[in-house]
């Protein structure tokens, strides 16, 4: 389904759209306050962008350095070319430890690799422990946002889900009761887990350590209780030095939710005594994206979600309309790199307003990349005949003033003289909900010529 079709369906319930829009705008607003309270915010963005750009152009070296240091720390390091390899590696580690029950903290990479179904097919229980993630997991849906995975669900939705799956009492969506019940349910899972899987927000080359940011402390709970910790990271998560971490932690919390810093920034470096720690480093199409100069900067992303919250289209179409693991503006430039045909409508799901690029803490030129994908898509993916031929026609018309004048005249005449019913009939999508301008007698050009003559 194209983005516009999915968005049209989402828009059938205008109240829900308004609610979704306001909920995310609230987060954007909090982000503004937090960003504006930092003197030198723009300088911090420049620094973040600079460090990321530098890292991307030396990615191989930093990854090798990271591996060396991680090995020295007693961590086992694995490399995965794609999603399948990643899943198999994680599976084999779990098998080797005879792990049947896994707690996972939120990780978009494991979503991207579809790890859960892969493990579940072998009878392994995987519990997502981030509250939002757990909600969508119970609803058997993918997350609709990378920071707020269940933002499309109201508290009443959650109430109903918990009643069905956790046996809670009806509570009219009382958030305190619901979180309390979720906590009880998750505690039990944490205590009995055989292994914990976490994502990685930042991996530090010069120490071999890594940092996981959560607001609920669920990564900590998982990793500190289970005998095995598997951390899965994309190759772009690396930063060169420990001292760079402060830049990104400051940018991340504020951009994501308007917090000064995420509640938990958990630093991991080596396995605790008697426990095991594994890191799986995943490519899955990232090297290919890196090889495209126009789109390389998309790998700078620190997954704060700010571009989603600010995007007026995302706010009104919902994350699922993007049909991709990473939705919204950043997803619309990452996804076509993976499957151009499947995601060919995403770069068009934008007015190119540029708000995403301005809000991005690492200054990814998102809207410029959307424009560039459009140029590629119209060449490489078959386009509707009407669109193609009308563009060709317009191209010729605008190169020839005489044709432009004739066409303009005819259009104005139709707008003035044809009945509204004809003008706003089906093929004119504009007219479904909007009136067209009235079609003046005289164009500016004609008026100007007359005026000159009269002089």
């Amino acid at each position: 389904m194209s983005h516009s079709q999915a968005a049209a369906i989402f828009n059938k319930d205008e109240k829900k759209v308004n609610w979704h829009d306001k909920a995310l705008w609230f987060v954007r607003h909090k982000r503004d306050k937090a960003a504006h309270s930092v003197t030198g915010w723009e300088a911090l963005r420049n620094l973040g962008q600079g460090i990321k750009a530098h890292t991307l152009s030396n990615l191989d070296n930093y990854l090798i350095q990271f591996e060396e240091n991680a090995l020295k720390n007693g961590v086992q390091v694995h490399w995965a070319k794609n999603a399948d390899e990643h899943n198999k590696i994680v599976h084999s580690i779990l098998k080797a430890h005879n792990a049947k029950k896994v707690v996972k903290s939120k990780s978009m990479l494991t979503e991207e690799c579809h790890l859960n179904p892969f493990l579940e097919a072998d009878g392994i229980e995987v519990i997502d422990t981030d509250l939002g993630e757990r909600i969508v997991q119970l609803a058997k849906e993918p997350p609709s946002h990378i920071v707020l995975p269940a933002i499309h669900k109201t508290k009443e939705d959650v109430d109903a889900l918990f009643q069905e799956h956790l046996g809670t009492k009806p509570c009219a969506g009382d958030p305190q009761y619901l979180t309390g019940e979720a906590r009880k349910h998750l505690r039990e899972k944490f205590v009995n887990a055989d292994a914990a899987i976490t994502g990685v927000n930042f991996a530090i080359a010069d120490t071999g350590g890594f940092v996981v940011c959560t607001n609920e402390g669920n990564a900590d709970m998982g990793a500190h209780l289970a005998p095995v910790h598997i951390a899965c990271m994309g190759i772009e998560k690396i930063i060169p030095k420990q001292e760079h971490l402060g830049v990104f932690l400051r940018l991340l919390g504020r951009s994501a939710t308007g917090q000064h810093i995420t509640t938990f920034s958990s630093h991991f470096r080596k396995p605790r005594e008697g426990a095991k720690m594994h890191i799986v480093i995943v490519d899955n199409g990232r090297t290919e994206q890196l090889s495209r100069p126009d789109f390389r900067a998309s790998l700078q992303c620190i997954r704060c979600g700010a571009c989603m919250n600010t995007c007026p289209i995302y706010r009104r179409s919902g994350g699922h309309s993007y049909d991709a693991t990473i939705p919204g503006p950043i997803g619309s430039i990452l996804s076509p790199g993976k499957d151009l045909t499947k995601h060919s409508t995403l770069p068009f799901a934008s007015t190119l307003c540029g708000s995403c690029s301005d809000v991005c803490p690492v200054k990814i030129d998102i809207h410029t990349q959307l424009y560039k994908w459009r140029q590629i898509i119209t060449k490489e993916v078959p386009q509707p005949f009407v669109k193609k031929s009308s563009m060709k026609f317009m191209g010729t018309m605008f190169a020839k003033p005489a044709t432009f004048e004739k066409v303009g005249k005819a259009a104005r005449w139709s707008l003035r003289n044809l009945p509204k019913g004809v003008i706003n009939s089906k093929p004119n999508v504009w007219g479904n909900a909007r009136d067209l301008p009235s079609g003046p007698e005289e164009s500016f050009d004609e008026w100007y010529k007359k005026r000159k003559k009269d002089e």
């Binding site: 759209v17 007026p312 459009r374 669109k387 191209g395 190169a399 909900a433 009136d435």
Partner: protein, 245 residues
């Protein structure tokens, strides 16, 4: 100083009054302004739809029309931005580079080239400013709410000097209206919803008129306002700056 006036294709055909107001305003400000006839379009509709190649003819034609002027002024932030940002589809001759450097959105030109703030207009209404995105985040005609920079707004500065005008504050200062060229048709549902919300923000704050640097945004908003019979008018900023009561 020789100034060439660029009137975007849809203003030429559908909103000639915006072109007239722009011309009259510039003449009032003693600018030696010429409208080269036979001009068409900056090429933006094709390029933003992914058909940059089809825009080459329009770009070349644009440069030929305007290469002899010191400045090119247009009542459209989005067209000026397009010339600056996307004219690299044609070979970068000296003429092309000059045209790209010298193209100005109207308010930017009045304020920063002519260095005039008070254009002597009078317009006693409550006005909401819709900051059209391409002018705002492309040409930086004002500060953007996402960035932590000093606040300014070219359109706001000019409007503040207009006798009788009360500028109203909006809840969302610089949210997109949802026009976006072919987006308005390809993503109709979202486009319409964005437009409705934009109109509502103005109504909620008691605006009588919505103004902008771009008629394209206003065409979209006007289409919704007339269809829904709402008590609002749209006027391009040139029309307000050119009015005397």
């Amino acid at each position: 100083m020789k100034v060439g006036l660029f009137i975007p294709c849809y203003i030429n055909q559908l909103y000639p009054q915006v072109g007239k107001a722009t011309l009259e305003l510039l003449e009032k400000l003693n600018v030696d302004v010429v409208y080269p006839s036979g001009q068409t379009c900056c090429g933006q509709p094709m390029a933003n739809s992914g058909y940059e190649n089809e825009s080459v003819g329009a770009c070349t034609h644009f440069v030929n029309n305007f290469k002899t002027f010191d400045y090119i002024v247009t009542p459209s932030g989005s067209c000026a931005y397009h010339v600056k940002k996307h004219f690299d589809v044609i070979p970068q001759t000296e003429d092309v580079i000059n045209v790209r450097n010298n193209v100005y959105e109207l308010c930017d030109f009045i304020l920063n080239v002519l260095k005039i703030k008070d254009v002597g207009a009078s317009f006693p209404y409550k006005v909401g400013i819709h900051k059209s995105c391409h002018g705002l985040r492309g040409l930086r005609l004002g500060s953007c709410s996402e960035k932590v920079t000093p606040e300014y707004s070219y359109i706001g500065e000019l409007l503040a000097e207009v006798t009788g005008t009360e500028i109203i504050k909006l809840s969302r200062e610089d949210e997109c209206c949802g026009f976006g060229g072919t987006f308005a048709v390809a993503e109709e549902a979202i486009s319409v919803k964005m437009g409705k919300d934009r109109v509502q923000d103005h109504l909620d704050h008691g605006a009588e008129v919505i103004t902008a640097t771009d008629t394209s945004c206003l065409m979209h908003l006007e289409g919704l306002i007339t269809r829904n019979k709402q008590p609002l008018k749209v006027l391009h900023i040139a029309e307000i700056l050119n009015s005397v009561n």
